[in-house]
């Protein structure tokens, strides 16, 4: 702190001191041309700038540029373009005259923008002292990409992105350097065009039927990936501390495309068509296997009953005694199970034209339910954009239409989105105005599937259990209808998907307007106003025609509406100054005010006499309930960042943010978040000038960031109404109030202190470039929902408890493997190894997490948070095999049911639970390649994660033969295992599997058409084919080893607490795409 106290005045003094140093000669101009050093072809879209000044311009299609109004004298002319190393040359500009410069650029290993968007401004890449990864929009927008999260996947070291499931537009669990929180959110902060956004679901949740509803889709689906110019990930705290209290999980900065070069107008049209089908389906018994199993078990039963009757003949003559005494003891399945194979028809019909009225016919089917509920799904996408403008006014406008069908039937996503970006400069380019508006409508079609738990309404659960000898539909004299068994916990999954309506719409507008004024040379003031307004609605109808609809009370309809709004006001002062060759300053100071508001309205009707109204006439329902809810909060911040460079050798960056949040109690509202980092460009030193390194930098940094993820009002006691507080006196319910939240006035931000050390290097004139980073992240005051001392209501409350450490090593390496006319091959590797450890949980010896889902699994938890162990530690009984009668055996140490260290399911003592797995990978790798060969451009992305375990909750519940006792199907491996028919499903080490994998995420082959031959007007036209998820190599037996365990059903499962639990996920697709990009 003492350091900071001195730093701030020093920065202010520096600012004031530097202001008067204005140049006073009449300006001149620079003109010239930029060419590729290898091919000698002109390069368009190269940024040419006078270093340390706002003078910058993009080259035209012929590589030419002109910079007017440049101060006379010796200036440093910098040219930089993505994919190329930057070039700096000194030019002397005559007062009132023009100088000509010829510039050549060499391809660089990494496809990186030379100017990096950092918090509240941009920085030259060389001047960056923190840990920053950038992803180029165009490089990452391959295959079917619905949102920005999917673009980062595998392309930035230390950024682990797991899509929740294969649903179109599914949300992702994003972990930057392993996340920093247990219970609070681990989502990074998203900043779009400089305005932080509140990344919360924009649509109301659905309703879970006997379980928690499916997870919300990605709120960032509003952004069209084609509009994204670049994505910058601020990973370490010295870089992200400028975002202070919201930056503990890193920051993702998204810059959208802006208007192009002056004078040139462009029209681009991109389109693609894709076909997707599930990569893998559940391995279930087919009708032949299932009926074979049932018949075999019935034979066992008959044999057993014959011998039982022989032993005790008296029992077999009196059926009541027989049932009473022997039913549970006979092995196998009773003959009545044969009745549930196939479907019994009565009388004459298509199944038996010659039958008499009382004849019965049994027909057998073979329904592959996992295929019946999935499909080859088509996606098509159209983008039109045009850019243009004059010297002073430039714009880019774009329109997007995308329609993605899900690989599961009756699910999909449709997006209509428009975007306008305009800039205008006035007052001799001293005033710059900027406007970005994105508006989108996303239409979501959902199927009802289970996130966790659930006995009734999940499509994929019923896929697993529905009897394969039965049909999807039956036709009899009453007509054709979906076949239902009539059993309460088994529903026809095709009927569920088709008959239950669950749709949502989001309209979201994201806009910001910026005015930037040069106050003096190097000093710029900027005011930004940002608005993020979304309205999401959700419509749900469980019809009378479906048994779930009947069970819910003869039809259930629900309408809900969620409105979120965020308003941001930002004021920035930026000062950039280059003093000769020696000193450079770059100082930003600012203020930000953000206000968030959310409200939800829900109305539900139960009991309809017809399905005609669906959710459009709730007042026709027998009973109705409704609810509403609103909350708001505010964030106020002051911040500054100062970057000082000495001779382009040493750079120091200091960051300070002072954040105030309404969510905390008086006295805890404000927090200080500092960061400090430095870099030394060894390659600029004499002693290394002739070494192998074309670039060599050392960077160190430290910073502190926060996590404010407590709900608003958490420090206040709040009385709320609702059913839980209502009580009938006489026969009339008396509406009551109860405490809705257990207040904790001592709550404060989670704090993460992060240390970062890195080496950046470039070899062979940067044909090979890379960095190695090591970090340690200590998070203390973890916000956890814990048991409160009783009496208290609710029984838990949020407290700042305990601490956690992440440390890790990241490596990224890029190389131009081949660069010669006609052939360029760039390869990039990202590698991350991260270790997490819970250091302390305060007074709590351990906390349970990881709800186990499925029938017979209530109150079972798969994981524990244990001091000394990482998050995602599987904890439970150790499976040892089976006894001779097919009972599962588990390790034990004490107890009367413990024999030779082994016990059956009813003798397991929690004292014998132990660590049975770790959901964290040893390391992850992403390998991306880009080969440009003549007119072909081939890219592919491989991802791998090694060493993690996944709990196959699906197998636990659905690979047990006992399902046949209820005429339910099961997974094929159970057919041959030793488990007895009546054995319950017991969570144990048996179901924790190694889940290392290698995945070919995407491969794309693009062909540049020879334009002049085809058309006069098109500037370029490219055709491509692409495949997502082409192959997956893994030993994991479930659907997919990449699982997201996000779950809002239990406060201890939110965030990171539970990892690596796989339960009946929406299948992930393999997608083939063909596309065309045209520019006119």
């Amino acid at each position: 702190m003492a350091l900071l106290r001195r730093l701030v005045p020093a920065l202010v003094a520096g600012l004031v001191w530097a202001v008067p140093l204005g140049a006073q000669e009449s300006p001149g101009a620079v003109t010239g041309k930029v060419v590729d050093a290898t091919t000698q072809q002109p390069l368009a879209n190269v940024e040419v700038a006078i270093a340390g000044t706002p003078h910058r311009e993009l080259t035209r299609a012929d590589g030419g540029f002109t910079l007017n109004g440049v101060p006379a004298g010796s200036q440093r002319l910098r040219a930089s373009r993505i994919g190329y190393g930057s070039s700096i040359q000194n030019v002397t500009i005559p007062s009132g005259g023009t100088v000509t410069a010829e510039i050549t650029l060499s391809p660089a290993a990494a496809i990186l923008e030379p100017v990096v968007v950092t918090g509240y401004g941009t920085q030259r890449r060389e001047a960056i002292t923190g840990s920053v990864s950038t992803v180029e929009g165009s490089a990452a927008n391959v295959g079917v990409v619905t949102n920005v999260d999917q673009m980062i996947r595998g392309r930035a070291a230390g950024v682990e992105i797991t899509q929740n499931n294969g649903e179109p537009g599914a949300a992702s669990q994003v972990l930057i350097r392993g996340g920093s929180s247990i219970r609070a959110s681990n989502d990074p902060l998203y900043v779009i065009d400089g305005v932080p956004i509140n990344n919360v679901p924009t649509e109301p949740l659905s309703m879970g039927v006997g379980g928690s509803p499916a997870l919300p889709r990605n709120p960032l689906n509003l952004l069209n990936p084609s509009d994204i110019a670049s994505i910058t990930v601020l990973k370490d705290a010295s870089a992200s501390a400028i975002y202070g209290s919201r930056a503990a999980n890193g920051v993702i900065l998204i810059e959208t495309k802006k208007g192009g070069a002056a004078g040139g107008s462009t029209v681009e049209y991109d389109t693609y068509v894709a076909a997707a089908s599930p990569l893998k389906r559940l391995d279930l018994l087919d009708a032949g296997e299932f009926s074979g199993f049932v018949r075999g078990q019935v034979t066992v039963w008959r044999t057993d009953s014959v011998s039982s009757c022989a032993a005790q003949p008296a029992f077999c003559t009196d059926t009541t005694i027989f049932k009473d005494s022997l039913a549970g003891k006979l092995a196998g399945l009773g003959p009545s199970h044969l009745k549930n194979l196939g479907v019994l028809y009565k009388g004459p019909g298509p199944w038996c034209p010659a039958c008499g009225p009382s004849d019965t016919t049994r027909l057998f089917y073979n329904t592959p339910w996992s295929r019946a509920t999935t499909r080859t799904a088509v996606t098509h996408n159209h983008d039109v954009s045009f850019t243009g403008g004059s010297e002073d006014t430039r714009y880019r406008a774009s329109l997007n239409y995308a329609k993605q069908d899900g690989v599961a039937i009756a699910s999909g996503l449709e997006r209509i989105q428009g975007r306008l970006a305009a800039t205008h400069r006035a007052l001799d380019n001293r005033l710059r105005l900027n406007l970005n508006v994105t508006s989108s409508r996303v239409n979501n079609q959902y199927i009802t599937f289970e996130n966790r738990g659930g006995f009734e309404g999940g499509v994929f659960q019923n896929v697993a259990i529905f009897n394969p000898t039965q049909p999807i539909t039956v036709t009899d004299p009453l007509g054709t209808r979906y076949f239902e068994t009539g059993a309460s916990s088994v529903r026809n999954p095709v009927a569920l998907a088709e008959q239950v309506t669950d749709i949502g719409h989001t309209i979201r507008t994201l806009g910001n307007a910026t005015a930037e004024l040069d106050l003096a040379q190097g000093l710029t003031g900027q005011v930004t106003v940002g608005v993020d307004q979304s309205t999401g609605d959700r419509q749900l109808y469980y019809p009378l025609a479906n048994p779930v609809g009947v069970a819910l009370g003869n039809g259930l309809a629900q309408q809900s509406n969620l409105e979120n709004s965020t308003r941001t006001l930002q004021g920035l002062l930026t000062f950039r100054r280059q003093l000769g060759e020696v000193h450079s300053f770059d100082v930003v100071g600012g203020y930000e005010y953000t206000k968030f508001k959310s409200n939800l309205v829900m109305a539900r009707g139960i009991g309809f006499f017809t399905d005609a109204f669906t959710y459009n006439k709730l007042d026709a329902a027998v009973t109705r309930t409704d609810s509403s809810w609103a909350e708001d909060w505010r964030l106020v911040s002051f911040f500054t960042r100062a970057n000082y460079g000495f001779k382009d050798r040493f750079f120091v960056t200091g960051v300070l943010r002072y954040d105030g949040s309404s969510r905390f109690a008086e006295g805890h509202k404000w927090g200080v978040f500092p960061g400090l980092s430095a870099s030394w460009h060894l390659s600029q030193e004499e002693f290394l000038r002739n070494g192998p390194f074309s670039d060599l930098r050392l960077r160190v940094g430290w910073g502190r960031t926060g996590n404010p993820s407590v709900p608003p009002y958490s420090s206040l006691p709040l009385l709320v109404g609702g059913t839980g507080g209502t009580y009938p006196w006489g026969d009339a319910p008396q509406t009551g109030v109860t405490l809705g939240r257990n207040p904790n006035p001592d709550l404060k931000w989670e704090r993460t202190n992060q240390y970062n050390g890195a080496v950046d290097f470039g070899l062979l004139n940067n044909r090979i470039a890379g960095s190695v980073e090591y970090y340690v992240k200590n998070t203390s005051d973890l916000l956890l929902e814990v048991q409160a001392p009783q009496p208290a209501e609710p029984s838990t409350r949020i407290e700042n408890v305990g601490s956690m450490r992440n440390q890790g090593l990241e490596l990224s390496l890029d190389a131009v493997a081949i660069s010669r006319p006609g052939l360029t091959w760039r390869a990039g590797l990202v590698f991350a190894a991260e270790r997490n450890k819970v250091l302390n949980l305060g007074p709590y010896a351990y906390l349970s997490s990881g709800i186990v889902s499925g029938q017979g699994q209530s109150d079972t938890r798969a994981q524990r948070l244990l001091p000394g162990e990482p998050l995602g530690t599987f904890y439970g009984p150790v499976f040892l095999g089976w006894d001779s009668s097919g009972r599962q055996l588990f390790r034990c140490s004490t107890g009367t049911k413990c024999v030779n260290g082994k016990t059956t399911s009813d003798g397991i003592s929690p004292a014998d639970y132990t660590v049975i797995g770790n959901a964290n990978p040893d390391f992850t790798i992403g390998l991306h390649n880009q080969v440009n060969w003549r007119r072909f451009n081939i890219t592919f992305l491989l991802r791998a994660a090694v060493g993690q375990d996944v709990f196959n909750n699906t197998a636990l519940v659905y690979s047990t033969k006992g399902n046949a006792l209820q005429d339910k199907n099961f997974l094929r491996p159970a057919l041959t295992d030793s488990t007895a028919l009546h054995e319950p499903a017991v969570y144990s080490s048996r179901w924790v599997e190694s889940a290392s994998f290698v995945r070919l995420q995407n491969v794309t082959v693009e062909y540049n058409l020879d334009i002049p031959v085809l058309t006069r007007s098109a500037r370029s036209a490219r055709l491509y084919v692409s495949a997502d998820n082409l192959f997956l190599i893994t030993g994991y037996s479930g659907l997919d080893p990449e699982v997201s365990s996000a779950n809002q059903a239990d406060p201890n499962d939110v965030g990171l607490a539970a990892r690596g639990i796989d339960y009946l996920s929406y299948p992930r697709p393999r997608t083939f795409t063909a596309g065309l990009r045209l520019a006119f």
């Binding site: 006489g730 004292a911 006792l965």
Partner: protein, 526 residues
């Protein structure tokens, strides 16, 4: 140079002014909740006080979850067998029935922890109201305060019954408190009940049916007094609770210097002589959906057929195909318990055995494989039971007007039938009173046997047997077995047995001790 500096300075100043104008109002971070209200802004009117009182009553519903399950399933009245893939649930149900629990075991995490939290929440609700009443003045305040104090005392009574001494909170502050001894908690509950009693009415009009009366206070007290031999002791063993012999109320001195047994008789007489209560003409009447009009029920959890406000007992025991929505097919009765009922005793009709019907339509039902659904009395293997095994308790019949699983049957925590048996037991233990224990027991038997089948003599053990017949399913069995020193005994599906003497007090869940390290675990639990 100079001109530029001036211009720049003016520009910068102007810019900062621009920023500072909105900034003035923009550092205010006070929260104004939208969908909730802070207690400090509430409790201004009688209606607001009544809303909080209703919330305090509402927590009574939760007494029928974990507290109920512990009181039934850890005894010989109920077992929840593992039925194939159903009801294993991490071993919780069998751990509870086997009494193999400790501070971290499956049953503790599920049931004891749940009861601890749910009952404590009732206390917390009462304390929020009682705190507020100190600072407000509304009509009928004394009566509302009396009801809140009785409710708080009742939640404490259930906790005392399970765990012994508890942290004693008389304010709504959430903080760590040490456990008081069970004896001091007993005295606190007793004094609260006695202090509140004068403020309460003898009975309520029908619009307020279900609220607390003087009779309800007397019933809780009578029950506490007859259990005084247990409720005043912090552990099993010498000088403490006798885990294998009768724990008499005789010799325990309670308020007013009375012997607890005599105090129990006095409280029972106060109820019987109040003129408000009388035995219903049939046994079944006190449990039906229309039992709000029962003259026998003294202190009830009030239920109506409305979403979230009804009794769900039909769900726990009935088979999937016997009711709509589909029940859970879980809770069953032990064959030995079913068989101990006299076949002529109408009280045996609470059990369902044999071929089953849909309880709403009366139609015969099949099991899930399509065979006739037959409930057998025996369960061959509680770890691998089938869906038809085990007799079911169906004491609170389905409400024809039910909304989903919500039935309008009130649940009586105390009814006159039990008061008769408390009185009989206290008299047998040495208190004086009329009529005789034999007469009291036979009064109850008279309405359930036709032809009559009175007992010729009673002992403490016959009272225990009559309590089983009269009160099965009413969550009294655990308390009774502990008082009679039979809780650790062996019964049909309980292995291993006998269980440890420590089980007469439940272990304190480890998470509760973590949250409040001032608490010490109950004796005998590691």
């Amino acid at each position: 140079m100079k001109r530029s500096f001036v211009k720049a300075s003016i520009g910068a100043a102007g810019f900062f002014t621009l920023l500072l104008v909105p900034l003035q109002g923009c550092t205010d971070l006070t929260e104004t909740p939208r969908s909730g209200i802070e207690p400090s802004h509430f409790f201004k009117t009688e209606a607001e006080v009544l809303a909080s009182l209703a919330g305090t009553y509402a927590q009574l519903r939760s007494t029928l979850d974990d507290y109920y399950n512990v009181s039934e399933i850890s005894t010989d009245e109920m077992v929840v067998p593992t039925r194939g893939q159903d009801w294993y649930d991490g071993g919780t149900w069998l751990d509870l029935h086997y009494q193999t629990w400790n501070g971290t075991s499956a049953a503790t995490g599920a049931f004891f922890n749940g009861a601890w939290n749910a009952l404590s929440a009732g206390i917390a609700r009462a304390n929020v109201l009682l705190d507020a009443l100190k600072a407000t003045a509304v009509p009928n305040q004394a009566e509302y305060e009396g009801e809140a104090r009785v409710l708080r005392a009742f939640y404490y009574y259930l906790l005392m019954d399970l765990f012994g001494g508890m942290p004693l909170a008389t304010t709504s502050e959430v903080t760590r408190r040490e456990r008081v001894t069970r004896d001091s908690l007993f005295k606190f509950i007793e004094s609260e009940l006695l202090a509140a009693r004068p403020e309460l009415p003898v009975s309520w009009n029908s619009a307020n049916n279900g609220r607390i009366t003087k009779g309800a206070v007397d019933a809780i007290l009578a029950n506490m007094y007859v259990n005084a031999g247990v409720f005043t002791k912090d552990s099993a063993g010498a000088g403490g609770i006798n885990a294998t012999g009768y724990n008499s109320c005789a010799g325990v001195t309670v308020s007013g210097g009375l012997d607890a047994c005599q105090a129990a008789v006095n409280r029972a007489d106060s109820i019987i002589n109040s003129g408000v209560y009388q035995l219903a003409d049939t046994f079944a009447k006190s449990f039906r959906a229309d039992n709000a009009s029962s003259t026998e029920n003294i202190f009830v959890v009030k239920f109506i057929a409305a979403d979230g406000l009804g009794l769900n007992f039909v769900m726990r025991a009935l088979h999937y195909n016997q009711f709509n929505p589909s029940p859970w097919n879980g809770f069953a009765t032990l064959a030995q318990t079913y068989n101990s009922f006299d076949a002529a005793d109408q009280r045996r009709n609470i059990f369902l055995v044999g071929q089953q019907r849909n309880v709403l339509t009366g139609a015969l039902v099949n099991d899930r494989t399509g065979n006739p659904l037959i409930f057998t009395t025996t369960i061959a293997d509680v770890t691998q039971a089938t869906e038809g095994e085990g007799a079911r308790i169906y004491k609170w019949p389905a409400d024809p007007a039910h909304i989903a699983q919500n039935n309008g049957n009130d649940y009586a925590w105390f009814r006159l039938g039990e008061i008769y048996l408390i009185k009989a037991e206290a008299e047998l233990a040495g208190a004086t009173g009329t009529p005789t224990p034999l007469s009291l027991v036979n009064t109850l038997r008279a309405r359930v046997f036709n032809p009559a089948k009175p007992r010729s003599a009673v002992t403490a053990d016959t009272v225990l047997a009559e309590r089983l017949f009269e009160l099965t399913g009413e969550a009294k069995r655990r308390q009774d077995l502990i008082r009679f020193g039979k809780y650790t005994d062996c019964w049909q599906y309980k292995t291993p047995c006998p269980s440890a003497a420590r089980t007469v007090l439940m272990p304190i869940p480890h998470g509760q001790i973590d949250a409040n390290p001032l608490m010490k675990q109950n004796p005998g639990y590691p």
